[in-house]
């Protein structure tokens, strides 16, 4: 049995490294158990009078047990497609979203623009809290503009 101890140790380590991530994923919040509720959080960027051509925001849960379940595009045609995000954000509570449009000013939205909707799953009794940070916003020339990011939980029908 101990003729090739190196292979034996390799086998043990390989087995452990396969089991470790499985064990970690088994410690996910209780949302996996089927309890909890779904909610949709609309994200907005207010660009004032300037047509919004590009944005990058960071959305995160600050309270409660929250898991991001899906990302949806915005309302305006320029941002209808789902924004770019890291797939690793799914099942977590933080995501960075980015989108842009190379359309002309006339086709770009301005004012309060719904850029995306984040679908979440909330577990536990604690009311969730959220934070939305604006990383960047730009006009059609790529110049940074002053803008404000806000969010609102969509009311359930």
């Amino acid at each position: 049995m101990t003729r090739n101890p190196g292979f034996a140790s390799f086998g043990i380590v390989a087995a452990l490294s396969l089991l470790l991530p499985a064990g970690l994923s088994a410690q996910q919040p209780a949302a996996e158990e089927g309890r909890g509720r779904f909610a949709a959080i609309d994200l907005f960027v207010d660009s004032g009078k300037t047509p919004l051509a590009a944005y990058q925001v960071e959305f995160m849960a600050t309270n409660g047990v929250v898991q991001i379940a899906g990302i949806e595009g915005g309302e305006a045609a320029a941002f209808k497609e789902p924004p770019a995000y890291d797939p690793k954000a799914m099942q977590r509570d933080r995501v960075v979203l980015a989108g842009f449009s190379t359309s002309k000013d006339a086709a770009l939205p301005s004012g309060i623009v719904r850029i995306a909707t984040v679908h979440i799953r909330v577990s536990g009794d604690r009311a969730p809290g959220f934070e939305l940070r604006l990383h960047a916003a730009a006009d059609s020339t790529g110049r940074r503009i002053a803008a404000k990011a806000t969010y609102a939980e969509r009311e359930r029908p």
Partner: protein, 157 residues
Amino acid sequence: MQLPGDKCKEHDEALRAPERLVGALKRLPRERVFVPRTVDDAVLAAARRQLRPEAKSGRGWWRLVPWAVGGAAAVIIGLITLQPGRDTPHDPVAARLEDLNNDGVLDVLDAFALAREIEVGVSRSDSRDMNGDGRTDRADVEFLLAKAVRLEKGGRS
């Protein structure tokens, strides 16, 4: 204070061999048993062969190979599993090339700048080939965008 050693010594002194055994031992023949020199040499040679370190014969090094393979495999599996460096590729040259608008930050505005360059057809230089596929196209924009939204250290979950 009595130490355990003292107790053992007293115990040893209390031991007495039976008189018959002592007498029999005293009656044993006192002359030395003759062992021929050839037998002596043969026993000595056999002992040397048995006790010779295997490293000198060259076979010892090969016995370490399974251990080395196992150890290397363990390190590789550990690196892949734990992924310590996957989220922190900091190549200063690459970072400088990716920061198209020279604001010191890689974000959506760099991807937006490249998309605009490609759209008007001014960007065909090798320095804009972000993903290293030999072309400057929409895939490079997607590459930058993916980097901009990457979660460096993962969420809080």
